[in-house]
């Protein structure tokens, strides 16, 4: 990655795809159920008095009541589309601000139903917003990219270490057990793993090893770093295909340009 500006532009494009996907899936997921099913704001707000009465409740209701959530999700998708189409500073800044505000409202008001990709998307969106507020080639812009790269390294490393504390991960049975569920698995994959049980064991240990070893990729030469990131992208694609966790692909890939750029500063 030659310059911080190019790294930021690529981050923006990839992140925008993650936001569009999350917004459109959020709309369709809600459309399947009356009153939006398990993602209902009408019920979710009852968890605390502050969401029922007072100024905060009024603001959130204004944004989320009834069909207004469609408008909020639509506005977020439109802002993300703008982030795909242009990297001009002012439109990018406005679009990032809209996407950050809408995402924060949704995460705060309806906390259930979000996964790690939504959290990563939100964090990188905030970093992008601050980067678009910063002058080109400034220290602040560098800090934004370093932070994005750091979040990626932390997410892989922390989840790898957390897995080492789990008995099923240590025994090598975790991936096989997860893929045997209806929620995260599929019949054909289970049949393959039954025929070749070593595959599930290898996948379990490889996942932990890959995640824990991620920070070490900063020691690699440039070409090897590109291969390493391609391997992680492949990992997310396999997870998306077998487990249905598709939104991790653009959300985590959005951190790769910043990672490559930070790596180029080190090596």
């Amino acid at each position: 990655m030659k310059s911080s500006g190019i790294a930021l532009d690529w981050t923006q494009h990839l992140l925008a795809l993650a936001v569009i996907l999350s917004s459109l899936e959020g709309i369709v997921a809600r459309a399947r159920f009356p009153d939006q099913g398990l993602l209902s704001w009408r019920v979710s707000r009852l968890r605390s008095e502050q969401f029922v009465v007072g100024p905060r409740a009024r603001v959130l209701s204004m944004l989320l009541d009834g069909r207004r959530i469609w408008i909020l999700l639509g506005a977020r998708a439109a802002a993300a589309l703008c982030l795909v189409l242009t990297v001009a500073p002012l439109p990018s800044l406005i679009a990032a601000a809209v996407a950050v505000a809408a995402s924060l409202v949704i995460h705060y008001a309806i906390p259930q139903g979000h996964d790690g990709s939504d959290q990563m998307t939100l964090i990188v969106l905030v970093a992008l917003l601050i980067a678009r507020l910063s002058p080109p080639d400034s220290v602040a812009l560098t800090a934004c990219l370093v932070f994005i790269a750091g979040q990626l390294a932390l997410s892989y490393f922390a989840s790898g270490v957390a897995k080492m504390f789990g008995s099923t991960w240590r025994r090598g049975t975790a991936v096989g057990s997860i893929l045997a569920t209806r929620t995260f698995g599929s019949g054909p994959v289970v049949r393959v793993l039954k025929r070749v049980p070593a595959l599930a064991v290898a996948a379990t240990y490889a996942t932990v090893a890959l995640e824990v070893a991620f920070p070490l990729t900063y020691l690699l030469p440039q070409q090897a770093m590109i291969v390493a990131l391609a391997s992680f992208l492949l990992f997310h694609l396999v997870v998306a295909t077998t487990m249905g966790l598709n939104s991790f692909v653009p959300a985590f890939a959005a951190c790769y340009p910043a990672t490559l750029w930070v790596h180029s500063l080190i090596v």
Partner: protein, 177 residues
Amino acid sequence: MSAWDLVVVFAFALWGVAAVVAQVRPARRRLLRWWDRSAVGALLPTYTFFAPRPATNDQRLVVRHWREDEPTAWLEVIVTRPRSWLHLVWNPDKRQGKALSDLVRNIATAQPTIDELPLNNGYLMFLMVADKIPAPAGATHVQFALLESPGIGASTRTQARLVSRRHLLSANEPTGP
């Protein structure tokens, strides 16, 4: 270095340290509980991704109606659909599915008493979904249950984690004067 640069570097340094602290559960509980309750709580996630104990069971929501004292058969509310190649790029079902597992976990974490249970937010959410299922003619009440079923090939059986009370269908609730 401009003032803006200083502010941004300081903010990201603070956020970065907090992000590391947030990965250690005891430290998070002690130092960041106030943050988790704030409107920006989502900015400090704990990255675990199926760790340390991955979900190896499926959570399922089933509903039945009552006509006087006669229950109908339990019907499952289909939240997620079988895996397909399309899920590589498009899988909206996972969001209601994740909400289902989040709400089940929230009920388990809150450990409400029998009296508190109907006021639990997860319970209310499941009740609302159950109440919206088209009821057979003459049905007056609705009941839901949360089941935990093992993965394919597991030796354990499906177990009920929670069976709700019978609730008057909202269509049958008395209206005000």
